[in-house]
């Protein structure tokens, strides 16, 4: 590194559009290196797009971007700088694997970056120590609090010594104490690694004030750049939050803002009974106590704040008040009555906004409002006026016909509030309503709340991580590990701790509480980071390669771990096939018997009875009560009571005796053609038997047949369908399960966000796909073993041919069926589409068009095309061939080869369709 800081990244005329939204508009900027760069701006102005492009996670649509001295649109450059960049996407632990433990998460990233075992162990130990996560190394990521999750994300990012650390809103939704610890950690790392640049997007202006250089964005363009001091002097403001607000076009002037924020009109305390009373409220999950004997009273019109560390029980308390969670002990009262989950009356008085956005993202703003107005039964005229009023006060008019999914976070939160108050509730329960919302939008949000409280007498119970919001509450409760530490006015709390600000008072309370309880979540006094950890890795560049077995293995190990962490899925996957094998093995059969028939014997002679005797003795038929007349025949055939009828006309016996041709006639139910054809065959066979019967011959003059046609059923002398059906069922089930599991495994990563790791780590698409495929190939092989044993021992279907050939065939086959699922997953975005798509694209071809019932070569039309393109068509001959036909490798070589062709085709197709970058 030279003393002169080179530009970290430079953008030329970069434009990025998503649908009709322009995220970045012809942006040109040079971002300096070797320092902390902060990105600030309202929600939805393109901060995340910009970070994504620099990290290489998003494709740059137009314009040029140079990062670390090369063009990122060049895949080779991206691949070569990728190990020098670490990217933590927005959202708490979005790129982590929730089912894996802390250690396993870090191990995965270490493997991806090709670290040896010792190196990995050493680095993980050091990182866990310095982030105070060591005591939680074995806890699954999904059970970590928000702050711990972000620290884990940071560990995963730092495992490979990046030169550039990109953090997208790393502290959103994180409590003040954890936030402070987070930035101290970053500072310590930077102190030891001088060359490292950090690029951060944040909604916290007090954090932004600590950075070296700021970039303020709005509506895809740059508002201002420079150090925090420069921005303040430019706008003539004293802090960065005010500077930001005044930079915003069309923002209220400084004076107006001061007037609207600092002045919360004093509350007129009435002597009405409290709206909310909590008495020793307690909630336990198993042996974990989430909320422990919490007490408070909230009066009418009061704004009551809840602050506390992540996972301290705030949300749980709120859920108990709404009746979503039953209290384990204690009691809560709303409006003087105990909380009753079933009470519709109380629900009409309460408005609730949960922590995450929980409206229907597929509806527009107007549709969401109308739906809720209707569900609260506002008369339509009232509803119309109310919606118009809310659209006005919440500033939603510009977005009224937009989908909720497309709204920026701040607007979404306003919509959530509008929905929560559409029925004019008397009590509002708001769980972190402003998390991730920019300062301007937060201000607007709070002025709405203040208006509701002061002018409409609405009681507001709100939780927040922002201290300037907490300061506006009438009273505050501090929560920590399920306990309320203190309840007082904001000023009272500051006074009690003798602290300069509310934030420091809060932190002192927490530190005091953690010291008392001796909890392990208290970080040790910041051990110095060992130099070894931070030494730039010299071997890094030599490790570039297009295919690395180690990275592939990293993906395989991770996928296998995740699979074992979901025992329900694993059990279904392993034994579901066994269950279906039993059902299908016995159930799908073409041996038709037990066919019900009835006779209409109008002759009633020994001859007619002799003829019918042949039918009655047949194992295929079972006789129902005889028919009285033709109308009954028709009726019972129509009702499905009988499947066939035999009618013997009068004079049947007489005609036979006189040597005149006698006729019998049969009606068969044609509703199911296959069954009808089978019955026809049986009847004809029986008729022939009758004619050939020696007993008949004595009464009827007849000669033997001119030729003896002998039907020889090869491979299966008794023509028992189980010998064909069991091997076919194995083929069918090995097509269905692996495909569905595989497709969902990939689409799940897309839906839950961990696909980002494919975009920003050196893992190639091939390593990713094959790495994920291997565990499912393993599961499928276990399935095969179980089904093979069932075929031999339960169904008594012996293997007559070569086991080795069958085994080779199965291995090739399960690779193709998982590959089929992989291919489907590449064009599905949601799990539901993947599930439905894989189901209809496998079940139909497998059960109808793959030779299960009829050889593919005999199918016609579209069905044959589908069959030819489905791997089971080529595996069924191998399975049936080895089991029932007694074949070996040479007989089946063609089928094996045809099956093998699917592997490169499906893999190449998946590679082409899977993106290494987000659009």
């Amino acid at each position: 590194m030279t003393g002169q800081a080179p530009a970290l990244a430079s953008l030329r005329e970069v434009t990025q559009r998503y649908g009709k939204v322009t995220a970045l508009d012809r942006m040109t900027i040079e971002i300096p290196g070797n320092c902390m760069v902060g990105l600030i701006g309202p929600d939805g102005v393109g901060k995340s797009s910009l970070l994504g492009i620099i990290a290489g996670a998003r494709r740059c649509q137009s314009g040029g971007v140079t990062v670390l001295g090369g063009d990122v649109s060049d895949a080779a450059h991206r691949a070569s700088v990728c190990p020098r960049i670490a990217y933590m996407p927005q959202g708490l632990g979005k790129n982590l694997y929730p089912d894996l433990s802390v250690r396993e998460n870090i191990e995965f990233f270490a493997r991806v970056f090709g670290q040896s075992h010792q190196e990995r162990e050493r680095r993980i130990a050091e990182l866990l120590d310095s982030t105070a996560l060591a005591p939680f190394a074995d806890r699954p990521a999904k059970k970590l609090s928000g702050g711990m999750r972000q620290k884990l994300g940071l560990c995963c990012s730092l495992i490979h010594d990046p030169d550039l650390l990109i953090l997208d809103e790393p502290t959103t939704g994180v409590d003040p104490l954890s936030r402070r610890q987070f930035w101290e950690l970053i500072d310590r790392i930077r102190a030891r690694r001088e060359g490292m640049s950090v690029l951060v997007a944040t909604a916290y202006m007090e954090e932004a004030a600590q950075f070296d250089w700021l970039l303020a964005l709005n509506a895809g363009s740059i508002l201002a750049t420079g150090s925090p001091q420069q921005l303040q002097s430019q706008t003539g403001t004293s802090n960065i939050e005010d500077a930001f607000v005044s930079l915003m076009p069309g923002s209220p002037g400084k004076e107006k803002r001061d007037a609207s924020t600092s002045a919360v009109p004093p509350r007129v305390v009435s002597d009405e009974p409290p709206v909310i009373v909590a008495k020793d409220l307690t909630c336990r999950f198993g042996d974990f106590t989430a909320v422990d004997r919490v007490n408070f009273e909230i009066g009418r019109g009061e704004i009551f704040g809840f602050v506390g560390s992540n996972g301290s029980g705030k949300t749980t308390t709120m859920k108990m008040l709404t009746g979503l969670l039953p209290a384990t002990a204690g009691q809560a009262y709303l409006f003087g009555k105990p909380v009753d989950a079933g009470s519709m009356e109380t629900r009409k008085l309460v408005g609730y906004m949960s922590q995450s956005f929980s409206l229907y993202s597929e509806l527009t703003v107007r549709q969401n409002l109308e739906l809720h107005a209707r569900l609260f039964h506002l008369p339509s005229a009232v509803a119309k006026a109310r919606i118009a009023e809310l659209v006005e006060t919440c500033g939603l008019s510009a977005h009224i016909d937009d989908d909720a999914a497309e709204l920026p976070l701040g607007i979404r939160q306003r919509l959530s509030l509008a929905v929560a108050i559409v029925h004019k509730p008397q009590l509002l329960i708001l769980d972190e309503p402003t998390s991730g919302v920019d300062p301007v939008a937060r201000d607007q949000f709070w002025s709405l709340l203040i208006d509701l409280s002061r002018n409409q007498g609405v009681t507001i119970f709100v939780s927040t991580h922002f201290m300037n919001e907490a300061a506006r509450c009438d009273r505050l409760s501090l929560m920590h590990e399920g306990h309320v530490l203190a309840t007082d006015t904001p000023e009272g709390l500051v006074r009690a701790q003798g602290a300069p600000t509310l934030e420091s008072a809060f932190i002192r309370y927490l530190e005091h509480a953690t010291n008392l309880s001796g909890s392990a979540s208290q970080p040790p006094p910041a051990p110095p980071l060992p130099a070894s950890l931070l030494a730039p890795d010299k071997r890094r560049d030599s490790r570039r390669s297009y295919f690395s077995p180690q990275r592939l293995l990293a993906c395989t190990i991770r996928e296998s771990l995740e699979l074992t962490r979901d025992p329900i899925r694993l059990m279904f996957a392993l034994f579901g096939t066994a269950f279906l094998m039993i059902v299908f093995g016995f159930g799908i059969s073409t041996d038709v018997n037990n066919l019900s028939f009835a006779v209409l014997d109008r002759d009633q002679t020994p001859e007619s009875r002799a003829y019918l005797e042949e039918l009655r003795g047949s194992p295929y038929f079972s006789e129902k009560p005889p028919l009285a007349d033709y109308a009954e025949l028709e009726r019972r055939l129509q009702a499905g009571d009988i499947k066939a009828s035999i009618e013997i006309p009068p004079n049947f016996g007489l005609n036979i005796k006189r040597g005149r041709p006698a006729w019998a006639s049969a009606w068969i139910d044609g509703a199911m053609p296959f069954r009808a054809e089978t019955i026809r065959g049986y009847l004809q066979g029986m008729h022939q038997l009758y004619l050939a019967d020696p007993a008949v011959k004595t009464t009827v003059p007849t000669t033997g047949p001119p030729a003896d046609v002998e039907i020889r059923f090869k491979y299966n002398q008794d023509f028992d369908s189980i010998y064909a059906m069991v091997p076919s069922t194995i083929a069918m089930l090995l097509a269905l399960f692996p495909a569905i599991l595989m497709a969902l495994a990939i689409v799940r990563e897309k839906e839950l966000g961990s696909i980002t790791n494919l975009y920003v780590t050196p893992v190639t698409r091939l390593e990713f796909l094959i790495g994920k495929q291997l565990p499912y190939v393993g599961v499928a092989m276990i399935n095969f073993t179980i089904m093979f044993a069932m075929a031999l021992f339960l169904f008594d279907v012996p293997l007559k041919g070569s086991f080795l050939t069958l085994l080779i065939g199965v291995i090739i086959y399960v690779i193709t069926t998982t590959g089929y699922g992989m291919f489907i997953s590449t064009f599905c975005r949601t799990q539901i589409a993947a599930l439905f798509g894989t189901a209809i694209l496998t079940i139909l071809p497998a059960s109808q068009f793959s030779g299960m019932l009829t050889p593919v070569s005999s199918l016609s039309g579209f069905g044959q095309l589908i069959g030819r393109a489905f791997p089971m068509t080529y595996f069924r001959p191998i399975s049936v061939g080895t089991f029932t036909k007694g074949l070996g490798f040479t007989d089946l070589a063609t089928s094996l080869l045809a099956l093998a062709v699917f592997i490169p085709v499906l893999t190449a197709g998946s590679l082409l369709l899977l993106r290494k970058q987000e659009a």
């Binding site: 519709m344 049969a666 044609g670 007849t702 495994a745 079940i843 005999s858």
Partner: protein
Amino acid sequence: MWSLSNIFWLGTKELRSFIRDYVLLGLVVYSFSLAVISQAQSNSQELHNASIAYVDEDHSELSRRIARAFLPPYFKPPVPISEHDIDHLMNNGQYTFVIDIPPNFERDVLGGRQPALQVDVDATAMVQAGLGSGYALQIIDTEVADFLSRSEGSPPPPVNLAIRIAFNPNVDTAWFTSVMGIINNVTMLAIILAGAAIVREREHGTMDHLLVMPLTPFQIAMSKIWANGLIIAIAVALSLYLVVRLLLGIPIAGSIPLFMVGVVIYLFFATAIGIFLGTVAQSMPQLGLLYMLIAVPMNQLSGSATPLESMPVWLATAMQASPSTHFVSFAQSILYRGAGIDVVWPQFLAVATIGAGFLGLSIWRFRAVVAQSS
């Protein structure tokens, strides 16, 4: 009254989100049009284009006549092969039938020595082997008898059997497979749509939101049932009128409106089981696996793929508890046999009873799960 209004408006939300999901919409259209057509045209349930070869060691007039008698559409034109190829060609599945005409066959027939003629059948080609061997027997017998009657005349058989097929005289399998394809879609879609609607509400956190509003679990469940049921009922009606009747030209004997009444009754059951599975599954992959375990057997064993008569008695009896079996059965009665309500009411009643029971169970289960959701 309020309850009905809630159910109605919540349901409109379901309809809106369904229509917005283009991939899902596309898949539904596919499964009710192209998938139905491909099943109708596949001839997978009949003897069609069976591959056949013959070994002619006789080289006589009769042997040539026998070979020529195997005609499309039942059989492909027979291919002459040599005797030592039989095993090899049948092993790799190239031919399902091989007729072996021995030397001096014609001479022995004429001499009344009843020579043996062998037909090898690949018994692993289930449907074809069963139906085709009967046909082959018939064709060869007829050919030999014709040949004889021309040369010397043989007495007509003393007893004749006239076989007629009711409701579908030509045994056209497209009639059957097209409608059964629709029926299988109904079960599949109802379960996936209703189940996924529940799992999605939970994954996206909107379930909590609904539960703090003045709505009961019953209303939430009913809204999903009517909305998803309506989508499927419309798809079925369109598919029957446009695809089956108009496009495929299949005559439907019975009353489509009566059938639709049955579909609606069945949908109560099918969407209820979807909701039930949605409450059991914790995630979409689990729902997918549950779906495979429940819905695939319900479809495959309902009598829509292979006849119920072919199952072991215990399984066929157990399948009587599944409404899908009754659904298939009354569909066949109404659509093919032209049965009226007087004939199918017991099946309607069975589906309605089992459906109501399941609906109650799934709403009870839904309530229990929702109460402890968080």
